[in-house]
C-alpha cells in the first residue's frame, strides 16, 4: 500500500518537527490522548451510501493508526446518525463538541445537513470537513474559513460531463432531476455551461420528480412527448432504477444521447443490473476495470477487511480520514485556527490518487471518473473511462472569487 507508507512518512516527519518545537507540556498531552474526529452522517436515512461510507472511514482509521497515527497520536472517530434531519445534526454537533470534546467535525450527506453543520462551525469557530454534500453553496456562497469540502460539487460533476455532452451535437435537450437543491443546481449548471459551449442549444422540457417518489411512467412519457435529441439526468438510487426501467420499455433512450450524473457509481449502477442502458455518459467509479495500483490497493484492502466490494461511499469515507490526517499533519496541531489555515494546500492520498485542499475555496480536488455505461455479464459497467482530477473541473480563480464572498 504505497499511499499509506507516504502518509506514514509525512506524518512521521511532521510529528518530529512538532515534537521539537512544542513545549514539554503540550508534548506530554499530545502523546497520551487520541485526536478525536466528531462525525455526523445520515446513516439511517441514506443507508445505501452511508453504510459503505462508514466502512470506508473505519478502514482508513485502522490504517492511519497502524501506521503510527497523526502527530504521534491515534485517530478516534465518534460517529452519530443525524436521521437525515438538519436540526438533529446541529444538536449532535454540539454533543460532539461539548460532551465528547472532539477536535473537529466531519461528515454530512444531504446538502442541507452539510450547510447546517457548516453554519455551526462558523458560529462556534470550529473546523468542519464536509465529506459528501455536493452543494456549491458549501464552499462558494456560504463558504467560510472553517469549512472544507471533499467531494466534487454539483458544478464540478457537471463540468466534467460537458465536454462529452457537447460532442453529442444534440440541439433539443430535456432534463430530469430530483426536485431539491442538488437536482436544481445540477440542471442550472448544465444549462449554463452547455449554452456557453454550444450556442443555439434548446432545452425543451424539464421534469422534477420528488426525491424517492418518482412516478417513472408519467415522467418518461412527458419527456418523450418533447421529442428531444438528448437527455440530461440527475436522478439516482431507487428513482433512477424506476426511471430506467420505464424508459427502456418505452424506448425513451433509443437513438438519444443521455448524460447522467453519479450513475456510474457502484451503489447506483448495481441495482440497474442487466437493464443498464448502453452508452450513457456518466460520472462514477469503474470498480471492475480500474487497474492502477492506488485504486487496486484500496479495493483489495477493503475487500479483504470487509468481505464485500467497496462502493463510492467507501471511497469518500476513506478519503475523508486521509484528508483530515494530512491536514492535521500539515497544521502541526489540532488547534482550530491552526487547522483552518493549515489545511489549505495540504496534499492527501485518496483511493483515486493524490489530491489537495485548494487555497482558493477550501474545496478538495478529489476527482471522479467519467465514462460510458455498458452491460457485461448481466451487470452494468463503465467503459471508455478517464479520471478527471477535481482541480481541472473548477472555474477560473477570478470566477471563484466572485462566487465566494468570504
Amino acid at each position: 500500500m504505497p499511499i499509506f507508507r507516504r502518509t506514514l512518512l509525512a506524518a512521521g516527519t511532521t510529528t518530529l518537527a512538532a515534537t521539537l518545537a512544542a513545549p514539554a507540556i503540550l508534548r506530554a498531552q499530545s502523546t497520551s490522548a487520541p485526536i478525536r474526529i466528531g462525525e455526523v452522517n445520515s446513516y439511517t436515512a441514506i443507508p445505501a451510501f452511508t453504510l459503505p461510507y462508514r466502512l470506508g472511514w473505519q478502514l482508513a482509521v485502522e490504517q492511519v493508526n497502524a501506521a503510527g497515527g497523526v502527530l504521534g497520536r491515534k485517530l478516534e472517530v465518534i460517529s452519530h446518525d443525524d436521521a437525515g434531519k438538519p436540526q438533529d445534526a446541529v444538536r449532535l454537533a454540539s454533543a460532539l463538541l461539548d460532551e465528547s470534546r472532539v477536535d473537529l467535525l466531519a461528515g454530512g450527506f444531504l446538502s442541507n445537513v452539510g450547510l447546517a453543520l457548516s453554519d455551526v462551525a462558523r458560529q462556534r469557530k470550529r473546523l468542519f470537513v464536509a465529506s459528501e454534500p455536493l452543494t456549491d453553496a458549501l464552499v462558494w456562497e456560504q463558504g467560510h474559513r472553517y469549512c472544507y469540502r471533499l467531494r466534487p460539487s454539483t458544478y464540478m460533476q457537471v463540468s466534467m460531463l460537458v465536454d462529452d455532452a457537447v460532442k453529442l451535437g444534440a440541439k433539443r435537450w430535456v432534463t430530469v432531476s430530483p426536485n431539491y437543491e442538488y437536482g436544481q443546481s445540477l440542471v442550472k449548471w448544465f444549462k449554463l455551461l452547455m449554452q456557453q459551449r454550444q450556442p443555439g442549444i434548446e432545452f425543451v422540457a424539464e421534469q422534477w420528480p420528488a426525491l424517492g417518489r418518482i412516478d417513472a411512467g408519467a415522467t418518461a412519457a412527458a419527456l418523450a412527448q418533447a421529442r428531444p435529441d438528448a437527455i440530461f439526468n440527475g436522478t439516482f438510487g431507487p428513482d433512477l432504477t424506476n426511471f430506467v426501467r420505464q424508459g427502456n420499455t418505452r424506448g425513451l433512450f433509443e437513438k438519444r444521447g443521455v448524460v447522467s450524473v453519479l450513475t456510474g457509481e457502484p451503489e447506483y449502477l448495481e441495482p440497474l443490473g442487466d437493464e443498464t442502458p448502453e452508452g450513457w455518459i456518466v460520472t462514477g467509479w469503474p470498480i471492475e476495470t480500474v487497474t492502477d495500483p492506488t485504486n487496486r490497493a484500496f479495493i483489495d484492502a477493503y475487500t479483504k477487511r470487509f468481505n464485500e466490494a467497496p462502493k463510492m461511499g467507501s471511497v469518500v469515507g476513506h478519503a475523508t480520514i486521509t484528508a483530515i490526517a494530512a491536514g492535521i499533519a500539515k497544521s502541526g496541531s489540532v488547534e482550530t485556527e491552526a487547522m483552518a489555515d493549515g489545511f489549505k494546500g495540504a496534499r492527501f492520498p485518496t483511493p483515486f490518487g493524490p489530491a489537495i485542499w485548494r487555497h482558493q475555496d477550501n474545496q478538495g480536488t478529489l476527482g471522479t471518473f467519467v465514462g460510458r455505461t455498458t452491460v457485461k455479464n448481466g451487470r452494468g459497467q463503465m467503459v471508455d473511462w478517464r479520471y478527471v482530477d477535481g482541480a481541472d473541473a473548477m472555474p477560473s480563480d477570478d470566477e471563484v472569487r466572485r462566487l465566494r464572498p468570504a
Partner: protein, 611 residues
Amino acid sequence: MDVIVLQLLTGLAGASTLFLVAAGLTVIFGVTRVVNFSHGSLYMLGAFIAWSILTRLPREPEFFILGILATAIATAATGALLEVALLRRIYRAPELLQLLATFGVVLVVQDAALFLWGPVDLSLSRPRWLRGAIEVMGLRFPLYDAALIAIGPSVLGLLLLLFHRTRWGLLVRAATQDRDMAAALGVDQRMLFTSVFALGAGLAGLGGALALPQGSANLNMDLAVIADAFVVVVVGGMGSLGGAFLAALLIGVLNAFGIVLVPKITLVLVFLVMAVVLVLRPHGLLGRPQAMARAEVEALSPIRPAPPALQILGAVALALAIAAPFLAGPYLLTVLTEAAVAVLFAAALHVMMGPGGMASFGHAAWFGIGAYAAAFAAKSLAAPMAVGLLLAPLAAGAVALAVGGFVVRMSGVYLAMLTLAFAQIAWAVAFQWVDVTGGDNGVLGVWPDPWAANPWTLYWLALVLCIGGALLLRRALFAPFGFALRASRDSALRAEAIGLDTTSLRLAAFVLAGAAAGLSGAVFAYAKGSVFPTYMAIPHSVDALVMVLLGGVQTMAGPVVGAVSYTLLHSWLLTSDLWRLKLGLLIVVLVLAFPAGIAGAAASAWARVRR
C-alpha cells in the same frame, strides 16, 4: 392525440398502483378504526419478501404469479401477528393511540429490514416477458403497466365480491357500520378484526410485490408511500373501497397530466387534490359521516385543578428546570432547551387534540411558519430578536385563522388529514420558493442577539417563553373558554343549545394552538441558528403527536411529560446504534403499559392510592 391517450394510460397504471396500496388501509380503517401508520412498512416488507422469493424461483410467468401470491400471504401473516400481539390489546384505548403503536412498529421494521436485507437497493432482474411493450397509436406502452391497469379493478371486484357475497363480508360490513351492535349480536370481534387486519396487510404486501418489477426494494419505500396511501383513502372517504378507487383514478390521472404542464408540482399535487376535495366534500368522495362509536359519546370526566401534591411536584420540577444551567453540562443544556421548545409545541397541539377534540397531523406547519417568520425578521429585516419572537406567533396565528375556517367545520381523521394537507402545502412553498426561503438549503445564520447568545441566557429565555406559554395555555383551559371548548367537544348539540358558538370556539382554539406553536418554532430557530423546510415536514408533525399521546391526551400534564420524556429519550437514543429499533420497541412497550399515556397512568395510580 396519441400523446394524450398514452399519458391517460400511464395515469391509469399509476392509479392502479395507488389503489393497491390504499385498498388495504381503507379496509382496515373501515372495520377497526385503526389509523395504521405501519401500512407503508407492510408494503415495503412486501417488496423485500417478493424479492427474496422471486429471485429463487424460475423466471416464467406462472412462477411470478405464484411468488406474488406467496408474498401476499406472508405479509398477511405478518399483519395478523401484529394485530394479535399488539393492536388487539389497545382497541379500548383513546383514539389515535393505535397510531402511536404502529409508529413504533414503523421504526422497528426499518431497522429489521436493514438487518435482514442490507442497505443496497434490491432489484429483480426482469425476465423478457416483463419487459415487453404494446403499441398504442404508434407509441410504446409497457405491457406490465397495461397488466396493472387491469389488476387494480380486478382486485376491487374481488374485494367487493368478498364483502357482498360471503358471510364473512357481511359481518365485516356490519361491523363497519356499527361495531358495537355487531358485537351485541354475537359476532366474534376478535376473529373478525384479526382477519380484516390480515387482509389489509396482505393487500399492502401485494402492492409492494407488484411494485418490485418496476424498480427496486429499498429502505425508503415505507415512508414514500404512506402519505400517498392516506391521501387516497381520505379523498375517497375512509372505509370506502369504491371511493379509494375513484380517488386513486383522480390522483393518478391528474398526476400524469399535471407534471407535463407544471413539472415542479410533484411535491404537492396529491395534497392539493386532498385539500380541494375535503373543502368541497368534508367526508371524501364517497365517504359517509362516521357512525359514532359508543365510547365517543360518553363525556370524559371533567378536569380538575392539580391536587396539592402534584402542584408541589410541578413547582419542584420548575425549580429544577430553572437551576438546570448550574447542574447540567453544555450539551444537556442544549437538549433541555429543545425540551422546553417541545413542551410548548406539544402543549399547543394538546389544546386542539385534548380539550378541542381536533387531532392534527400537520401541527409542524405552525412551528415552521413561526421559525420562518423569525428567520425573515432576522435576515431580511435585520430586526432584533424580540421582533422575530413577536412576529412568529402573529404570523402563525394569522395563517391558522385563514386556514382554520375550513378545518374546524370537519371532524376526526378528515380534520386531521386536512391539517396535514395544509402543512404539506406550506412545506412545499418553503421548499420551492428558493428566492425567499432558500429552498431545502434553508435560512442560515439566524443566531440570537448578543445579549442572549450565551447558552445559559438562551436557555432561560426559552424557559420563560415556552414554559410561560404552556402555563398560559393551561390557564386558558381552566378559564370559561376551556370549559366551553370541552363542552363543544363532548356534545356539540347541547353546547349550541345553551348558546355556545361552537365553531368560533374551535376556531379560537385552532388559532391559539397555531400561534403558540409558532412561538415555539421561533425559539427553536434562534436556538439552532437555522431554519429548514424539514421543520414543517411530516416527521416533525408525527413527533408532536407522539409527544402528546405518550404523555396522555386527556390529562393536563400529559403534553409536558410527553414532550420532556420523548425529547430526552430521542436525543439519548439517537447517539446509539440501532436507535430506531430501541425507540420503536420502547414506544410499543409504553403504549401497552400506559394506554392512557404516562401522565394518565400516573393520575389513575394516584386516584387508586387516594381511595
